[in-house]
């Protein structure tokens, strides 16, 4: 298909080519150097912290995002239009502003690991909401109404008709949110304390490696983070039961 060909070409030039450069750099010193850099204690701690917090936040936002999308599409109350408009703001606000604002508003979680989760929840908020909304809008209510007229209870309708239809969208949004959480830098570097082994996420660790002149090591950790993220992304989609699409 022409679309697939053009799309893959675009993807290659924009994404894969730069990534290939990073992978090449990661192995610049040979495989042993790569492994040394990728498995240093600090790297592993940063990776673990990043992945754990990101998965947690993804789970929360998957649930809340669906709830919010439902309320936005199926509910009606004054100010709903305004509410809908605000959902995209976490993307538009520079991460520096997000970090600084959250620190000032929630000083109790500032400079703690909970603060990192808060910042990540903020920046990934729109993903599941916006992923579910268009599907919900396309959803034909007649199926649900028919089930109701046949005696199904609301919870049954929800479980057997609505949620399965929404599942691919929820999974898609959650996967994107997870990917974003894993790579987030700007807001986390402000709200976290950046103490190695304690509150330093992978992206900050990578940055510190670059600043210290250890570009190969930075590239190595980046490659590891990406590989693990790809695997988790594939896993999330498998969980959603979708076999063949986003």
């Amino acid at each position: 298909m022409l679309g697939l060909g053009v799309g893959t070409l675009w993807l290659s030039v924009i994404v894969l080519l730069p990534l290939a450069a990073v992978v090449t750099r990661a192995f610049d010193g040979g495989v042993s150097a790569f492994l040394d850099a990728a498995t240093s204690r600090q790297a592993i701690d940063a990776l673990v912290l990043t992945l754990v917090v990101s998965l947690l936040v993804t789970a929360v936002n998957a649930v809340m995002g669906t709830v919010i999308a439902w309320v936005l599409v199926r509910d009606r109350f004054p100010g709903k239009v305004v509410l809908n408009a605000l959902i995209d703001l976490p993307f538009a606000l520079p991460t520096v502003v997000a970090g600084v604002t959250l620190v000032l508003l929630y000083p109790d979680v500032a400079y703690t690991r909970a603060g990192i989760a808060l910042a990540l929840a903020f920046v990934t908020l729109p993903f599941v909401v916006r992923s579910v909304q268009p599907v919900l809008m396309e959803l034909d209510r007649e199926v649900e109404d028919a089930a109701a007229s046949l005696g199904a209870r609301p919870s049954q309708i929800l479980r057997r008709i609505v949620l399965p239809t929404l599942a691919p969208a929820i999974v898609s949004g959650a996967a994107l949110g997870f990917a974003r959480a894993v790579g987030e830098f700007g807001s986390v570097v402000i709200i976290g304390a950046n103490i190695p082994f304690h509150s330093q996420v992978a992206s900050v660790y990578i940055f510190s490696q670059v600043e210290s002149g250890n570009t190969n090591g930075a590239a190595a950790v980046a490659v590891v983070l990406l590989t693990i993220s790809v695997l988790i992304l594939i896993g999330i989609r498998a969980l959603g039961g979708t076999r063949d699409d986003g």
Partner: protein, 338 residues
């Protein structure tokens, strides 16, 4: 279902995109020196200044002042400010620059290795340095915790903010000041028990501190003075055991206007230029100008050379894997891990 709105949106998007690309082509030539070309056509060269973030306030005055002189007349400028390490990497990565002024010598050494700055850049009367500073302990206005020196930072309950030396090369100066005072044992106790936040850079650390976090901020004297001039409610203490912070300047080998670039640097090193820096809290390297400004002289002031030079310091203290400070950071992180 009507698709007229979709069609309209797509047409609008495509038009916008085409417009943007066209404008971008024009814009690209601007940003790659198109303006410089235009300027050269009228006999006006443009110098690209790439500097670390804090002296921006000085250059806002120094550049117009230079342009009023005979050598500076008609010379245009583009300016870029950012964290010293970021700027250094950008120039090494190809960002056009005629004059670079950075926070510490290793950021210039990186450019020497990249072939962008001559290896004899520091063979000048001022050893390649444009300004100096010293480490300052910034406290809340009125110094409520009565901080007089390094020892006070170890008092129980004193919360210290210092930028992370691994995400900011310029932040190494701060810990070197502490190191000059009490060596590794002091640094160890400081970091593991009193430092709860390590912001990414010096400026971010300052903003974190003025935002309400911590009792003491380890920073530079010129930062403290700039903060006060900008109305922040802070005081500062210059500890007697200190390190001389030296900020290098260099003209690049890739400069297309070396004569103009050199005359700009000469202006900055002249009494007039040095006075502009001094007004903003930077210690002039010109002794005659320094005398006019009464900067307090710390009793025990070391330089990086006294410590063996940057290579040795970077290796022994700041190597991210084997350095002593890295080890201290790791131990601290492990001990505070919940």
């Amino acid at each position: 279902m009507s698709n007229a709105p979709v069609r309209r949106i797509l047409v609008a998007l495509t038009a916008l995109g085409a417009l943007a690309v066209l404008a971008g082509c024009g814009g690209a030539s601007d940003t790659s020196g198109g303006n410089a070309a235009a300027a050269a056509a009228s006999g006006k060269p443009t110098l690209a200044l790439v500097a670390y973030s804090t002296p921006q306030v000085v250059y806002d005055e120094a550049i117009p002042a230079f342009q009023k002189t005979a050598q500076g007349k008609g010379i245009g400028f583009t300016q870029s400010y950012g964290a010293s390490g970021d700027q250094s990497r950008a120039v090494a990565g190809g960002q056009p620059a005629d004059v670079v002024e950075l926070s510490l010598a290793p950021d210039v050494t990186r450019l020497v290795k990249a072939g962008i700055v001559a290896s004899d850049w520091d063979a000048t009367p001022t050893k390649g340095f444009l300004t100096d500073s010293v480490v300052a302990l910034i406290v809340r206005k009125g110094n409520p915790k009565h901080v007089k020196g390094w020892a006070d930072l170890l008092r129980p309950g004193v919360n210290v903010v210092t930028p992370n030396p691994f995400t900011s090369g310029a932040a190494k100066w701060n810990l070197l000041g502490a190191y000059v005072y009490g060596g590794l044992p002091y640094v160890k106790q400081l970091i593991s028990q009193h430092v709860k936040v390590q912001p990414k850079s010096g400026r971010e650390a300052l903003q974190t501190f003025t935002g309400g976090e911590g009792d003491v901020l380890i920073s530079y004297e010129n930062e403290a003075i700039t903060a006060q001039q900008k109305g922040e409610q802070v005081d500062y203490v210059i500890p007697p055991q200190n390190i001389l912070i030296q900020n290098p300047v260099a003209v690049t080998r890739t400069s297309k206007h070396p004569d103009e670039a050199n005359s700009f640097v000469a202006f900055l090193e002249s009494a007039a230029g040095q006075r502009l820096f001094a007004k903003r809290g930077y210690r002039p390297v010109d002794p005659s100008v320094a005398k006019q400004f009464h900067f307090p002289m710390p009793a025990d002031l070391k330089t990086i050379d006294d410590l063996g030079g940057w290579s040795k310091v970077d290796d022994q203290l700041f190597d991210p894997d084997k350095g002593s400070v890295a080890q201290i950071e790791q131990d601290a992180g492990v001990s505070t891990a919940k």
